[in-house]
């Protein structure tokens, strides 16, 4: 069995967890094993929508102390689950929570962890993982000795295809034993950013600005453009962030986030090697820059050589037209 931890946010299952479940389904099919979706939380949590995503079984690991996320509480629930059900693999989405939790679970099990995978293949009856290293300047492929193997899957990489219509999954509710004093740290509060912007790692389209924007106020041009496009987010180069024009959570590149959107539009970004590392796995790259020699044009599928202050407002109008069609 391949088990997949399903992360919820505000009671909704995250898209990146469903992507991990879809990938588990494809690999489990090749290995002729089943799949399980695993939810952790307080008792009586819903499984709405998950039945349609094709897991063979749904496990709800429950305890009142698991109402809020704590790495120690959630790791205990998953470790016990692995002990009882013996999956061959345990997948997580490589989200903030998945990256926090998966190593804790793996260490508790003495298991190897494949972090932030972008490809998983079946080889000699086991799983082979591929993941970017050096921020995408190289790709490492490897197998893992331990059973189970624990893996986190990069969001926005694995396709969400329609699951086969099978029998409704069995839902198993298990009560978790959480000894007093086990949980020494927990999330007390989630502080939302004022704007409800989607994170660059989860966006389908990322529109990033760099030094060419000349000042913080001009990120408004990119926000206007992003507002037109569904699931679009605004990113930034390191120099824009270090100049204080936009928050670090928007930074794409080696000391920021690595993104793989369907479209990455680089505006006024020359394309330093650290920046290219963070976005070169995007499916389509477009760039607007006034310097025809800018390195960004070497990786761009579509480039516009021109003044961004002239091109971007016009691009916005043109996109409005084509999107209205």
């Amino acid at each position: 069995m391949i088990a997949v931890f399903m992360e919820t946010r505000d009671g909704k299952i995250k898209k990146s967890s469903l992507e991990a479940l879809a990938e588990a389904g494809r690999r489990a099919g090749e290995l002729h094993v089943g799949t399980a979706a695993v939810l952790v939380g307080a008792a009586g949590g819903g499984t709405a929508g998950l039945e349609a995503c094709g897991p063979d079984r749904i496990f709800c690991l429950e305890h009142p102390a698991l109402a809020a996320y704590s790495s120690q509480g959630f790791a205990k629930a998953l470790r016990d689950f692995v002990g009882e059900t013996g999956p061959a693999a345990l997948f997580f989405a490589a989200t903030a929570m998945g990256r926090d939790l998966a190593p804790r679970v793996a260490a508790g099990l003495g298991a190897g962890l494949a972090s932030d995978c972008t490809k998983i293949a079946v080889k000699n009856g086991g799983l082979e993982f591929t993941r970017p290293v050096y921020a995408g300047k190289a790709y490492l492929s490897f197998t893992v000795r331990s059973t189970p193997v624990v893996a986190t899957l990069r969001p926005n990489v694995f396709p969400l295809d329609a699951p086969p219509a099978g029998a409704a999954p069995e839902v198993v509710r298990k009560s978790v034993d959480i000894p007093d004093g086990l949980i020494k740290g927990r999330v007390a509060e989630v502080l939302k950013e004022e704007s409800s912007e989607i994170d660059v790692t989860e966006a389908d389209v990322v529109i990033s600005g760099g030094r060419g924007l000349k000042g913080p106020e001009n990120f408004g041009l990119l926000r206007d453009l992003a507002a037109l496009i569904p699931r679009a987010a605004v990113g930034a180069s390191r120099s824009a962030v270090d100049s204080g024009w936009i928050g670090h959570q928007h930074q794409v590149g080696q000391t920021g986030k690595t993104v793989s959107p369907n479209l990455y539009l680089a505006v006024g970004i020359s394309g330093a090697i650290q920046h290219l590392a963070g976005m070169s796995s995007s499916k389509v790259i477009a760039a607007v820059n006034k310097d025809p020699e800018a390195p960004i044009f070497k990786v761009a599928d579509y480039g516009v050589v021109g003044d961004l202050f002239e091109v971007i407002p016009r691009l916005k109008e043109e996109l409005k037209k084509v999107l209205a069609e």
């Binding site: 704590s70 790495s71 120690q72 929570m97 990256r99 939790l101 190593p103 804790r104 260490a107 508790g108 190897g112 962890l113 494949a114 080889k123 591929t130 970017p132 290293v133 050096y134 921020a135 300047k137 190289a138 790709y139 490492l140 492929s141 490897f142 197998t143 000795r145 020494k184 740290g185 999330v187 007390a188 989630v190 502080l191 950013e193 409800s196 989607i198 670090h248 080696q254 000391t255 479209l263 090697i273 650290q274 499916k283 389509v284 044009f297 070497k298 990786v299 599928d301 579509y302 480039g303 516009v304 050589v305 021109g306 091109v311 016009r314 691009l315 043109e318 996109l319 084509v322 999107l323």
Partner: protein, 260 residues
Amino acid sequence: MNILVFVKRVPDTESRIRIRHETNSIIEDGLNFAASTYDEFAVEEALRLKEAKGGTVRVVCVGRDEALPVLRKCLAMGADEAFLVKDEAPETYDGLRTARVIARAVETKFAGADLLLFGKQAVGTDNGQVPSMVAELLGLPQANVVTRLEIEGNAGTALREIEGAAEKVVFSLPAVVSAQKGLNEPRYETLKGIMAAKKKEIPVIKLEDLGLAAGDLEPQIVITGLDVPPERKAGKILQGDPAETARGLAALLHNEAKVV
């Protein structure tokens, strides 16, 4: 406060990575090495906590002798002591192996630490596994990818970055905290600090002295390949009148690439 900071020597972020395929390893000749970027935020945070609350800052690196300059830099920034846990193994890309070495080192050589600080991930291996694994192996709470840290008595509060929001994590000490960019602005070494650091001895701890269990040093990861990604092909370049190029780009993105 008794603070431990863990640092790693890595190729700097400007490095162009070349591969030696016979050994599935990177070619180190010609690369510049430095402390991993995020580790510098961890060192700085430790120094600030010490300045505010007193105590000691000890910096530990697992690695080869080549990592000594990285430790020396931490001393020059103001760390009290630095230690090298000597590990001759080439890069294993295996977080659990490193975490076991660190956890055993903490238990046998650095017992009584209040706070274990790390960078959120090493630049290069990009695993981000070790802090959480060490926390689990030592039964400590954790706060990862932290952009703000406050310690009050025996408790800590951290803000950690998540998608589109921040989580406020409350925890008791001792604890593991990993630093994200934005936590602070690392200081430069002073000339006085550099001179003082030169005189300090950096004790070397042997792996054999840590009481590791058989198999602890065996990586779980079995490397089957290491490659640079295929080069992207240069694409279509539009030049000229901004109205024309904007229209052209919109059409290409919508009709040809079908991404908007």
